[in-house]
Amino acid sequence: MSVDYAPTLVAILFGIGFSCFFMALAVFLGPKRPDPEKLSPFECGSDPIGSPRVRFSVKFYQVAILFLIFDIESAFLYPWAALYRRLSCLGTVSGTQCLGTVTAFGFVEMLVFIGTLVVALAYVWRKRAIGWG
């Protein structure tokens, strides 16, 4: 049983070994000729301007959260759409045909899910979380 996991262990060891090996190569073999230009921090080729720790509008986080909620909706819609035929068929599915009774199960399930999200949308709309002003 645990022998089955041996390849994983080997892969982990190789991963650690290789990174250590190349780090060591760079440390021991690499030529070190520092000059002020090389030691200066840089950001995409240009000198950094100001600290990266600046305050930014809290509204970004709100938008990000709202985005996540509705992003999950679409993430859930794809597997649902892929499985829709199986969800709405009581028998076996062959190709696009349902050999059995067709039910509204898949449809209703998604209606419930979307309905809950519509409540959330109505809530954020009324709480004025969507506008930027």
């Binding site: 199986r86 969800l87 709405s88 068929c89 009581l90 039910t103 199960f105 898949g106 809950t116 409540v119 109505a122 809530y123 709309w125 009324r126 709480k127």
Partner: protein, 520 residues
Amino acid sequence: MTFDVADLQNSAPLLLLTVAGLVLMLLDAFSRSKLVGAPYQKKMPAETSEAYPLPVAGSRGYLMPVTVLLLLGILAVVAWLPGQIHGDHGVFMYRDMLVLDRFGLLVSGICIVGAILGVMTAPAFLRAHGLEMGEYYALVMFSLAGMVILVMAADLVTVFLGVEIMSLGVYVLAGMWRKSQRSAEAAMKYFLVGAFVSGLLLYGIALVYGSVGTTLLSEIRSRAPVFASRPLFYIGWMLIFVSFLFKVAAVPFHMWAPDTYDGAPTPVSGFMMTGVKAAAFAGLYRLFAVTLGDSQNALQAYTGWVHAAYGIAILTMTLGNLAALHQESIKRMLAYSSIAHAGYLLIGLIAMAVVGDSARGPLLFYLAAYTVTVVGAMGVVGWLSRDLRGGERLTLDDWAGMGQRHPAGALAMTIFLLSLGGFPPTAGFFGKFYLFRVALEKPSLLPLVLIGIANSLISVYYYLRVITAMYFRAPAPSSEPASEPLSSTALSVGVLIAALLVLGLGLMPEWLANLCAAAN
């Protein structure tokens, strides 16, 4: 695919709670007029020298009665459902993901009763501190829905789902006092620990699944004798155990609890100490006492959780009580006392495994008695400790002479404190009595019971300290304005009902004890 219409009926409490939460959320969002009062002030109350402006009764006042009515309706459904269970075994729903049985319904009922009393005591407190937000009611509903999932769970996945839904609502509730740094600290600590614990729980579930090959609790129970010798099984269950011990705030996993219970808005603290704890104990019961075996089943030996729980119960009772001894703040004292009570409840869980099914009744009775007592006590704390400048006056010095200043509130607090300490004419006495009596049936539990009794004696000291301060100490002469108790009918009625329940259960414990004993 399809689902059974009977499932809808059997999971009605859960569905109704969810729908009620959505309805409350929409009611709040579509309430026309704006909120008035404190949260829209620019300055922190501490920065203003003048008295906190008295907030006007907001436009959300009707949400509390609506919530209480909805919860009463759901409670009626919970009371009706046991009639739908035929036979000794529960009814499985949604492809064995949930189970409807009397145990789950009783714990759901306890959580809902606690929530009703909490919701009744909340709005006056929230309004006085500028927190009157409709979200409170919706979040309580959603959190309750999570608790119902957890107590009805028949699968490790639904256990996780229940824990998450229950906790997410409470994280937000703990931090809803946005002007208070301590509330933010409470929410942050609870959230970070909770997120960590969710990881532990999920990892434990993954390991158990990896070793047994199923997440269904009944399947795990039947397959475990074959698979249990694997270390993954043991480690997985220990991770799950630890994550639940975090949720019930058992020592040494309690470090978040005092700050969280102390910093959160008082009605929310009451909800966390009771509903979350009751649901988490129901989860512990289902996962450990039932799935990992009882006295007839030697399965527990494979994971050794009983031995771990034995030590943790002793630590929890002792440390919780010793830390509570020196608290000057009444709310923080109640927070530590809540930790100590988790220790007593662990005795019930251990008794379930060692003594057998006869320990289930005492465990449930203790949960019920503890819930009404703590919700009432937190209601009184919110009631009497209101400071005109917007904070809370929680120290013993602030409460000195409360017996003269506010006799009704002081009397109610006395009843709740006596119940927490386990004095005879109250629910708390019978909670402890039944629990210790059933644990004494096995000699191996004798040391545990003795330590439990010693601890209840210690706890009497700090409960009586509050009572003596309220009745036998003159208020300290000071230039500070005294606390100004809230005046609210709903709050008084809520505390009155809680006090009557505590006394009623103390005088006539039989009916609930029988109900609990029959809740298989």
